[in-house]
Structures are given as structure tokens and as C-alpha cells.
């Protein structure tokens, strides 16, 4: 399989690999995918008091395109507000990484991971409101 230069770059030099304290109130964690499907992504965000995502980390079990999609997602969410981050679409990831059709699910998973992390963060801020499950 031929990989785009950007996928190769993220695979070789993944950005923001690691973990944040998932118990912390200002951290949102999203874990999506399943091992038997061949991809699991964990994406975490740390949100400042003024609502800006100041840090993001990921760990991904998956193919090079899955790694690249989640690596890119952490880059993109950083510096955005929670609402702005919700605007990131999988199609943007597909375009940026030149993903072939068979790898589109990797970008979908990355979008899901962002949303799951944001949802987790929000539910921690408003523990009474039930997180809207998508």
C-alpha cells in the first residue's frame, strides 16, 4: 500500500503521544473503536479555565492511517475552544492526509474520538446533566 507523505510523517513522528490524568476534572477522555476491528483510539484533552484546549494527547492501536488521523486530531484541537473543536469534520482529516477510500473509517474514528473526549469533559463540568449520547 502506498501512503501519502503526510501519513508517513505522522507515523514516523507522531505528535502528542501520551496520556493525561483521566481523573482530572479539566481532562476529557474519549476511547473509541474495538481491538477486533483493528483500531482503538484514545484521545484526551485538557481544557483551561477560559475554555480553550491547551493540551491534547493520544494513543492509538491501528494502522498507519489511524495513527496519523489521531495524531493530526490532537494537533488540530489544541488552541481551539471546546465549541470550535466540535466543528472538526472527518472529511477535513481525509483531505489533509489524502486518505484513500478504504481508510476513511480512520478519519471517522478520529472525529468520534474528539467528540467523545469533549463529551466526557462537558459531563465532568456539569455532572448533573446527562451527557448527550450520540
Amino acid at each position: 500500500m502506498a501512503y501519502s507523505d503526510k501519513v508517513l510523517d505522522h507515523y514516523e513522528n507522531p505528535r502528542n503521544v501520551g496520556s493525561l490524568d483521566k481523573a482530572a476534572k479539566d481532562v476529557g477522555t474519549g476511547v473509541v473503536g474495538a481491538p477486533e476491528c483493528g483500531d482503538v483510539m484514545k484521545l484526551q484533552i485538557k481544557v483551561s479555565s477560559d475554555g480553550v484546549i491547551e493540551d491534547a494527547k493520544f494513543k492509538t492501536f491501528g494502522c498507519g492511517s489511524a495513527i496519523a488521523s489521531s495524531s493530526l486530531a490532537t494537533e488540530w484541537v489544541k488552541g481551539k475552544t471546546v465549541d470550535e473543536a466540535l466543528g472538526i469534520k472527518n472529511t477535513d482529516i481525509v483531505e489533509e492526509l489524502s486518505l484513500p477510500p478504504v481508510k476513511i473509517h480512520c478519519s471517522v474514528l478520529a472525529e468520534d474520538a474528539i467528540r467523545a473526549a469533549l463529551t466526557d469533559y462537558r459531563s465532568k463540568q456539569n455532572p448533573d446533566e446527562k451527557a448527550d449520547s450520540e
Binding site: V17, V31, D39, V40, C63
Partner: protein
């Protein structure tokens, strides 16, 4: 050591079970038959034909010598795929009046599986497909239990190409002979890597291929026993009646000369090759298994080809693993690297889960593998697995003591 065939490829070749380079000594033996000695071995009326015939005669003896057979028992073919087809279909057709039950196992090469399937689908045979154990092996008892009154053929490979597991051929052959059933073995991966003697192993037919033993591609042989029992096969290729009528077609003289030369070298260098294979395979294996936890050997630890090492790396996804080692030529059980989009049927048959099948790598060393190559390959694999595990949420969870099977995954 014989010098390796020259190549300008910087990649490290550890896929000798897939194919081998031509040994330069084999190429030397073949050259005259690609140039001036171009005759047809069936031309009886001139020196061009006689030279070709003589070369084929010598090659036939060289093949027979490696197998412990007589030269009259060697049929030249286009490779092991054809040999398997001829053995299985040819025997079943020949014995149609006697019965139509055959016994094989689920981890055979496709050439055997699909020949059997063809016969089954067309109502020409009833097939018993023996399952294998976790180590990839069938037992002689399984074979004995599967035998029926109308069993005419047992076909079990000598050693498996993917995992290297070595079946108890000698014992299975003894059972077959006791019952008067013909026994074929696809010995493509066993020959030149294991001691081989058709009489010692109770084999009636054996398939082999030149390109797995440092000979050229597109040529192979089928051993067909002449006495006790006398095996006769219905030809699958009709024509001029070459090869005692069992396989028509003008002989591939340069290829056959190459196969013969490869067999002679395999016999002469057997001990040296064995020591070399084992030293390098063990070195590679010890380095990788010594450096990484959560790895699973696929196949049998003991009953295994000295060239072969098939291992799965838990918590690492197969395609990303292969992506991290582009300079190392190996085979992978990952669906992403095969045409079928299915993980290896052999690993599945051993009960290896899809996740571990995807992250499997088969390393196979050979005559021209060097210590430096093995060391470099081991280092790269170790480095890549560590990097991917540092990135793997599954490895992290496993380190935290979470049982991954208890997690409620949000599967898509």
C-alpha cells in the same frame, strides 16, 4: 560460505520460505542449457537432443539422490503446485473404482486444499479435512481414525510454509501402508531443510519445487513410487507422452538442470546449511523474544523447520508494524498485506485470534542470510514494536492490569 547472488537491493531478505534466490552454482550449471545446448530432450536423432537428454538424465539422478529414490520415480513438473495437482487428482482418478475417500488437513498449501476442494465439489471425492492442534500439527491417531474402507489417498504436508510445523510423516506413512492406502506429502518446505528419504518416511508421492531450494522458478518434481505400492497416476496434462505418460510437454531442460544442481548442493551441503539456518534463526528468535514481552510463537516450538520463526506481537496492529519495517522483507499474517483481506487461514486453524493473526510476522532465514542482517532485522522489529506499544492504548491498559476482554468496546 558460497557468496550470495549479487543484488543492489538494500533490503534484508528474510522470506526464504516464499522463495529463494538462485544459488550462483545453480545458475552456472544452467547457463549452457540457456545458450548453446538448447536441444529438445526428446530429439533422438541428433547431438543437440542427446546433450539435452543426457543433462536431464543427470538431473533426474540428482533429484532422486536427494530423496532416496530411484531416477525412474521422478516426474518433472512446473513446480509444487502442479505436482500437488497431479498427485491428488491423478491418484483419485486412477483409483476411482476402488474408492473415493481422501484425507487431508486444513493447513495444507492452497495447491493441495483447492485440488481436494475441486474433487469434492465435483463429486469425485469425499474429503476428510483434519483439524490441527494449537501447535499446527495433526497426530497419526487422527489420521488412523479418519480412515474408511473406501479411503484411497492420504495427503499431509511435510512442513507448513507459514509456521514451519513438521507433521509426523513417517508415522502417518506407516499407517497408510498398513492399510494399503497411497500416501502423498507436499514436501516443498521440508526437502533440503529436513532429512528426507522416501523409504524411511513411508512416502508414496512427494511434491517439491526448485525455487524453494535455491533453484529456478517454474520447475519442480513429483516423486512417484514404483514398487510396494506401484503408484500410477492419471495424467493431468495430455500430449506427447513425456515423463512415462504422466506429464506431457517438452522438458524444461535448463530448469531441470537447475533443479538437479540445487538438489546436489542441498545434499552435499546439508549439514553446513542446517547449522547455518539454525544458528541464525535461533539468534533472531532469541533477540526478539528476549527483548519483548507479550509475544506468541505460532507453531510448534520443537517440531519446527530450522529456517522458520513465526511470531505475533500482542497490542500492536499488523499493518502499522509492517509499515515500520519497510526495509525488511518478511511475510505477515495481516489481512492488509494479503490479497484476500482475510488473516491467515493457517493461523486461524491454530486458534490464533484475529488480532494476533494480524500482528504476526514470519521470518525465514536461508543460505545467504548473514548475522549482520539478522541483527539489523531484530533491532528494527524490536524498536518498531516498542514504539507502537508506547503508542498503544491496549498495551497501556494491559500494563494497568485491565482485562481487555472485559472492556465494553464501542465497536462500529
Amino acid at each position: 560460505m558460497t557468496s550470495a547472488p549479487s543484488t543492489n537491493n538494500k533490503h534484508i531478505y528474510l522470506d526464504y520460505n516464499a522463495t529463494t534466490p538462485l544459488d550462483p552454482r545453480v545458475l552456472d550449471a544452467m547457463m549452457p542449457y540457456l545458450r548453446e545446448n538448447f536441444g529438445n530432450a526428446a530429439s533422438r536423432s541428433h547431438s543437440f537432443g542427446w546433450a539435452a537428454e543426457e543433462a536431464v538424465k543427470i538431473a533426474r539422478q540428482q533429484v532422486a539422490d536427494l530423496l532416496g529414490a530411484s531416477d525412474k520415480e521422478i516426474i518433472f513438473t512446473s513446480g509444487a503446485t502442479e505436482s500437488d495437482n497431479l498427485a491428488i487428482k491423478g491418484a483419485v482418478e486412477m483409483l476411482a473404482k476402488k474408492g473415493k475417500h481422501i484425507i487431508t488437513c486444513v493447513t495444507e498449501h492452497k495447491a493441495v486444499l483447492d485440488s481436494c476442494k475441486y474433487l469434492e465439489t465435483n463429486g469425485l471425492a469425499d474429503v476428510t479435512w483434519l483439524e490441527v492442534g494449537k501447535n499446527g500439527l495433526v497426530t497419526p491417531e487422527q489420521v488412523a481414525e479418519a480412515i474408511r474402507d473406501d479411503t484411497v489417498l492420504i495427503t499431509i504436508m511435510m512442513a507448513n510454509n507459514e509456521i514451519g510445523s513438521i507433521h509426523p510423516i513417517k508415522e502417518i506413512g506407516a499407517i497408510a501402508h498398513e492399510k494399503g492406502i497411497w500416501f502423498h506429502t507436499d514436501a516443498t518446505q521440508g526437502i533440503a531443510k529436513l532429512p528426507f528419504d522416501v523409504n524411511d518416511l513411508n512416502v508414496d508421492m512427494a511434491s517439491m519445487s526448485a525455487h524453494k531450494i535455491y533453484g529456478p522458478k517454474g520447475v519442480g518434481a513429483l516423486y512417484v513410487r514404483r514398487r510396494k505400492p506401484r503408484v500410477r497416476l492419471s495424467p493431468q496434462m495430455h500430449g506427447g507422452g513425456h515423463e512415462r505418460g504422466m506429464r506431457s510437454g517438452t522438458l524444461n531442460v535448463p530448469g531441470i538442470v537447475g533443479l538437479g544442481a540445487a538438489c546436489k548442493i542441498a545434499k552435499d551441503d546439508f549439514d553446513k546449511d542446517q547449522a547455518h539456518y539454525k544458528a541464525l534463526r535461533d539468534r533472531l528468535e532469541q533477540k526478539i523474544r528476549g527483548a519483548l514481552d507479550h509475544v506468541e510463537l505460532n507453531g510448534d516450538d520443537e517440531q519446527r523447520l530450522v529456517t522458520t520463526f513465526n511470531i505475533s506481537f500482542a497490542y500492536v496492529e499488523g499493518e502499522s508494524l509492517i509499515m515500520g519495517i519497510p526495509e525488511i522483507a518478511v511475510s505477515s499474517g495481516s489481512a492488509c498485506t494479503s490479497a484476500s483481506l482475510e488473516p491467515s487461514y493457517v493461523l486461524r486453524a491454530l486458534g490464533v485470534g484475529d488480532d494476533l493473526a494480524h500482528s504476526s510476522i514470519r521470518f525465514s532465514v536461508g543460505r545467504f542470510t548473514t548475522e549482520a542482517e539478522v541483527d539489523a532485522a531484530a533491532d528494527t522489529v524490536i524498536k518498531t514494536v516498542r514504539k507502537l506499544r508506547d503508542m498503544s492504548p491496549l498495551y497501556e491498559m494491559a500494563q494497568e492490569g485491565i482485562d481487555l476482554s472485559s472492556v465494553n468496546w464501542d465497536a462500529h
